[in-house]
Symmetry: C2
Subunit: 308 residues, 2 copies
């Protein structure tokens, strides 16, 4: 029995404009309808190449969804048989997953794309936090401690956050107090078990980083890192099941002997934000001043240390 | 006595359009005329901030030229007194330096710049290797073993090299056979002493990388890494004096709590090229295939391992 999943967080994986939804089954598989244009075939080509690529080490492979091939099934919009990617279901098999979809890279376009696509992405990267932060939050849902309470802000609201606001959202993601309450500071009480530790999300991202410093096979343009965990399990004192998984490979290109410096830079920026939450959740940031001191003697108070 | 230096390799530091040359003295100082627009004051502001910034560790500070303030001196074009940055002379105090100027970053523009500047940089980044490689070679001179022979290709010729050609140039930079001879493969005989070792250029770049993974104070837009050494010293069996130095800070902006992911990504790309020369100078690269296998069964021979 196939059904529509509950926990999609990023816009482009939801049904819109008459396009079919992805589907899931009870065996933990996720059926993603192939897009009609060449994005569908490009994503299949990536999964086929990656899943059979013996040069991908196991500790990196587990950061990608398992690929079970493609399958012709009835599309969820009733439009008939359509090919679907069959993937490991990272999110929907969990009962109350908190999920964050982070699109990595200050640039989501790439030289091989059409000029129209390049200009659209160029504009969006500048309008969102991608350009400044090296990534943007594409989607988000955070459960409260009571399972009935879910915070799922509109994607538009989280795509263009400042550095300070991104840090707050990354803290809310691992806090026990309810994320939509503006009057309470996030307590970061799950930070150590979700982000930290030898199997936490930071450790997984650092493994990914080491691979990206070396691999020159794939450029993961416009890909996302999905971070998922269940608050309930952490509250019960069970081992955190926090996972980072890469998703969305419709724009992957061949690396041709060059590292994916755009993905790597953005990933390092995410890593820095998460590391700071783990090492100094209440820290102040220290500003530097690049005003010409001769011209701006009256502004010297701007150059002092300032809390965030 | 001030004089015009012999060893400028990147175009924008040479006199053009009636602008004054930089000057050097015999005491190892380099006098860089302040540019008239706000680039001059921005570069002074950066050097002032950086040189007094106690949070910059010593092993990072030595990768930047020492700053000796500014000084009003007669400009080299006879236009009268003009303020100059007074810096450590990294290049010209050497007798026969081989020099490479690598502009770091796939993007040389930044959000705070004017729209006109952004569009000009955007175009140039796409026309050169910046976009694809994450850096471009801005200037280059390599001495042969005989001091009289110097290879100094036009800057235009090296700005848009492919990955394979950049690797060849980086090999030529550390080879004993003469770099302008198209019939001999570079022998990389100085690679270990110039790029390698605990004090070589790779070690210096890795220290820089570690700092960029952490520091959120400065974004070094459109900066270059200058790599310098003297072949003569290496030939005599003396310890290599190879140095990496960051230069050109007219477009530095405040980091505002975000790492410089654009610089870091490009730097990691340079590091990967140099690492490969050290670890496997004659390696083949292995291609992956992202063609849709259903559609391209006849192209399967494209997916095999291919030498470079």
């Amino acid at each position: 029995m196939l059904k529509v999943p509950d926990h999609q967080v990023a816009g482009h994986r939801q049904a819109r404009d008459g396009k079919p939804f992805p589907l899931i089954d009870d065996a933990g598989r996720f059926y993603k309808p192939l897009q009609d244009d060449d994005r569908g075939s490009k994503e299949v080509a990536f999964y086929s190449s990656f899943s059979s690529n013996t040069r991908v080490p196991d500790h990196v492979r587990r950061l990608f969804p398992v690929f079970h091939g493609t399958q012709l099934i009835e599309a969820s919009d009733g439009s008939g048989l359509r090919p679907h990617l069959v993937l490991e279901d990272v999110v929907s098999s969990r009962s109350h997953p908190s999920v964050m979809d982070i699109k990595i890279g200050s640039r989501t376009w790439y030289p091989e794309a059409s000029e129209d696509y390049i200009q659209r992405c160029f504009k969006k990267d500048r309008e969102t936090s991608s350009l400044s932060l090296g990534f943007r939050i594409s989607g988000l849902q955070i459960y409260g401690n009571e399972e009935s309470r879910l915070w799922k802000p509109e994607n538009k609201l989280v795509q263009n956050l400042s550095a300070a606001d991104v840090k707050v959202v990354l803290k809310k993601f691992v806090s026990s107090n309810f994320p939509d309450d503006p009057n309470s500071d996030p307590d970061c009480s799950f930070a150590a078990s979700v982000y930290g530790g030898s199997t936490g999300i930071l450790a997984q991202l650092l493994e990914l980083k080491a691979w990206f410093e070396d691999q020159t096979m794939y450029h993961l343009n416009s890909c996302s890192v999905l971070m998922v965990y269940e608050k309930e399990k952490v509250l019960k004192g069970e081992r955190s099941d926090a996972e980072a998984k890469l998703i969305d490979f419709a724009h992957v290109t061949e690396g041709k002997g060059i590292i994916d410096h755009n993905f790597l830079g953005g990933l390092c920026s995410v890593i820095k934000f998460i590391s700071e939450i783990l090492t100094s959740p209440d820290e102040c940031t220290t500003k530097v001043c690049l005003q010409d001191s001769d011209k701006n003697t009256n502004d010297s108070e701007n150059c002092t240390t300032e809390g965030m």
